[in-house]
Assembly symmetry: D2
Homo-oligomer: 344 residues x 4
């Protein structure tokens, strides 16, 4: 077969990802950004609230000032996070419970009435398992817009107009994802957009157990790096919500954590430990980053840490999100969901 | 897992496909439409020309009048078809030969200069093997637009700006494909669009052995049925070219052919044959169609006939098209292609 | 990239498929074979029984003599078929109902006690959508053998030892599927084998709406053609059951049906019709086959007719079968299934 | 849809992986094991030799004593490694060059004559991109055994009998991979087996740029962890060769490296650094491992670090390996390969 000279992945075109300012920690979860930063300082303009039970914790983080936003490295707005450690094991009853909780959270945040058209965007690369969350949710989703336009009588009452698309990634299309979405949005004219994306977490324990929904859309520097232009109200002209699940930890986070834990350990254990820990803590942010670069070269950013059983984890959580969206969008499906008793 | 009431495939929303007017034959190849119709009558305003060698036949069909267009069931414009029976068996040397011929045909038809930006659209459903031609070609294609915009120095000379997207199908997205393309096109502002699509042929022998390129784009009634609004110069405002390979024969064609062949056979073999053949030939077009409907129910159209080894056939021909496009677009790759001697 | 001289698909190595003896009809359903043959003659040694309701029909066909087996073109044994026309539309409540009926039919036929180890084999080609039923069911199945061997305490009570494998197809592996299964079986030493395979039906209406289970295994001439050596008790030395769903109609069936329907139509409609129909009916079996060959050339057999929305149909029915098997195998899962009330 | 109580991934059943004895470094490359260990001590019974040019380095490591084997954590035998940094960028000319070098190395190591039958095994999980190397190579491979058995005249001279299978992974099948292979091997009776597998490297720079072939097969403790019983001459009774490409770095390696690099840095930079580095170096192997566990919890081993563009990297290197095997096996294809001049 013939030759295409060379292919460059987009990562070669990118600078280091955006991490929590001043930390070698990358997280797309507002909850984690708050955990990391609040250990070191007060963060004015950020409210955190927590409820739920022992299976499902619901965290609500609101960032209400520019200052809070800057410290957290996250856009102003509301972030709701469900933490469900049990989801790492397949458990149908627990999945059903999460769907019942999550679809109502979606409804509340979106403030839907009966007439709005929703456009769902599945970000990420179908061919890279941990990045495939968005396309998989879109594949599972119940899409109605064309039926309601062409033969609404087939559906009957209780269904909203929903469309969905997976625009691919810049490295494959050569087009900024935000350009693609804006172009389609201008023709489809939905009332609101929901983007689904695989996220990076700081902590391993959050992989595939945590779902975040926010009213901020996706903004540069808070996201997975490949989507450089914002997908939010400012760029799209209509409300944009984001739903994501952490499927990877950035390798930079692992490397940084390892150094920090080593310093902690020494501090506790050795007589000179305090001094050494002090040295590590005082090490320039840039010096630490140089060490990390050395460990991870020739890849700067864009190294994902992910569990081996990623395929089934992604599949399960995608079904939970698609089912939650279906129930949040369509009153008919919500009613069925409510009639379905939790099985023990 | 919870329930989505019912999913309707788009085929339920569609009427019978558009076939050659007055024939129970569906073909997306202008060459075949001409073969079928010209047996029965003269088609003014259609020119057909043939060259090539015993391995690769190049057919050129031009439809220059509305009348010709109406009789053929094909848009006015130019259609070039490569017939390469040997492609059904994997044969690297032959593939290389086809690429060398085809990329030059593409260049001539597109009349490219060095500066134009090309947007390639892969139509069809990635998850249905015989419909996956478009998405597969897009996946293989060398995409450069983002590199030329962000770091052109990586590429050097000899590369054109190319972007590519697979917009999915209406049944999965809820959005007309033409809306998606128009939306993206208005943002990307390419100079021309090339759509790649799996086609239906009349004859089995054409599956995976025939490549058609035309300057007509895709227009309602000439295509694969699922793309109802035109993707052509009129709707997009810029030149639109279409490249396709037949991967299926419509089941309606098989059923119709079987009846016709039976009539032929009887005509030859039995004393009353002429009378019977006459009866079959005089049978109302609608009557024949009723029989076909009965055979194919509960599916009206949208039944594909496809060989079992479809997976490797699609993979091979997708590589040939992607390589031809790469060479047609980028002078650097064309030069490499020319330096590669044909292996015997 | 370099060249592999030529690749031959297996279909080139095969003779015409085995059809119902004396008919241009290929079906893997005993129910259909009986329908076709019993129109023309009595079939001694074949019992047919039907129950169920308006949503789910359960057919039981028993072939108890060699003569019946020869006439039907099916191995002696028991075949149970669920017909559920509603399955062509996604309907969660109906799927749940089918699972509840089907898992009990499986249990009865397999006559399982608590200790047996089951090996499930997913036949077919993952990369060809209509042939992917077997591999997809295997992917969905709950596999326990390794857990019960290594850490049974994780599972607790109520789980049977189940393993599962998709051995690929001869054209890709170069190894007869039956050799692969026998080899593995001799090491795993299961008590019984269940093979899952995509089937060919005669009637379009049966695609994706019908599930067959039999205690015959798969025998040459009754199957999908690519599995030439039997996978049954004789070759494996242990009981072998087969579960299948029709996903395709053979193109030969379509062509044959069209000719027959044409003859029927003429018989009714025209004065000379009777004579014509008589001629067609008296046409040699071989003569009809010659016409069919002409229509389908250069492909002899191995042309599948399949609906365009094949991807979602396969996905849905695979989940139903996997869930039925899970409940049939594991008393814990059966109990959960029973606690799950049918939703309306 | 109904519920399967819980699914356990195999990683929950496994203990920590086998790393280089005494190091928090996991590598499947003999070359790297030697690099790591030889810094600290002499390794008797291990010979290392290096040739090649600036594009392709060929390393030959021979482990000839039990002692050398124990220190390296690798089986006794011969390991040949091609290092080709340029492969990380798509480069057809370089790929062609690597194929020409690698197929001859394969031929030499396998010492093939014209009559031997080869069975190729693609280890790993098709659904997890970085683990899919083996199944992808098998998919690309030219398989001939069935043709040579059934219709050898189609192929003509110059082809060897080759079969290939991807047996899946324990977590999906419930069957040890080695059981599957042994079972099939006893029926197919090949003369030798080649297993293809995705490997773990120590250094990021080796991902997708390095190919290792060895005559050791795969033995517990030297491999990817999920294949616990050996696939080698002892277990299979015939020669077993292994070909692998590193596609991941173990997260444990990253964490360990980060701590070591921090110690190094401090040693150089700070007055007390020497003392600090000494403490870290004297830290118990177990203490370091405890820190790593803390960073990576709740996942112990089985966390892969992999670049985001994994999909195209895997695809390219799989084609190189498949093409090299084709040429190594079949004299007809080797001749074609040699006639293909390198393009510059």
């Amino acid at each position: 077969m013939p030759g295409k000279a060379m292919v460059f992945s987009f990562s070669q075109l990118e600078e280091f990802h955006n991490y929590i300012p001043g930390f070698n920690v990358r997280t797309d979860l507002a909850l984690e950004a708050h955990e990391v930063v609040s250990v070191h300082e007060e963060i004015p303009g950020v409210q955190v609230q927590k409820d739920g039970d022992e299976e499902v914790t619901v965290n609500r983080v609101s960032i209400t000032t520019e200052q809070g936003s800057a410290k957290m490295g996250k856009a102003m707005g509301n972030y709701i996070t469900l933490e469900v450690p049990g989801l790492r094991k397949k458990n149908t009853a627990l999945q059903d419970k999460v769907i019942k909780i999550f679809y109502k959270e979606i409804q509340k945040m979106l403030n839907l009435n009966g007439e709005q058209t929703v456009m769902v965007i599945g970000l990420g690369n179908w061919n890279v398992t941990p990045d495939a969350l968005g396309p998989r949710v879109v594949k599972e989703l119940f899409v109605t817009r064309h039926i309601l336009q062409l033969k609404p009588e087939i559906l009957g009452e209780g269904y909203r107009s929903v469309c969905a698309i997976s625009p691919g990634v810049l490295g494959i299309t050569g087009i900024e994802t935000s350009e693609v979405i804006r172009g389609i949005s201008e023709h489809v004219k939905p009332d609101l957009i929901i983007v689904i994306d695989a996220l990076a977490a700081q902590r391993m324990s959050r992989l595939h157990t945590t779902i975040q929904i926010s009213d901020t859309g996706i903004v540069p520097g808070s996201g997975v790096g490949n989507h450089r232009m914002g997908i939010n109200k400012q760029t799209m002209g209509i409300p944009v919500y984001a739903i994501g699940v952490p499927t990877v930890v950035d390798a930079v986070t692992i490397a940084g954590d390892s150094m920090d834990k080593l310093a902690e350990k020494l501090k506790k254990d050795s007589p000179q430990g305090n001094a050494f820990a002090g040295i590590v803590q005082k090490m320039d942010f840039g010096e630490k980053r140089d060490i990390i670069r050395e460990v991870l070269q020739p890849f700067a950013g864009d190294l994902m840490v992910t569990p081996k059983e990623i395929d089934t984890l992604i599949e399960d959580i995608s079904m939970v999100i698609a089912a939650s969206l279906d129930a949040a969008f369509h009153s008919k499906i919500a009613a069925e969901e409510e009639n379905r008793p939790v099985v023990h």
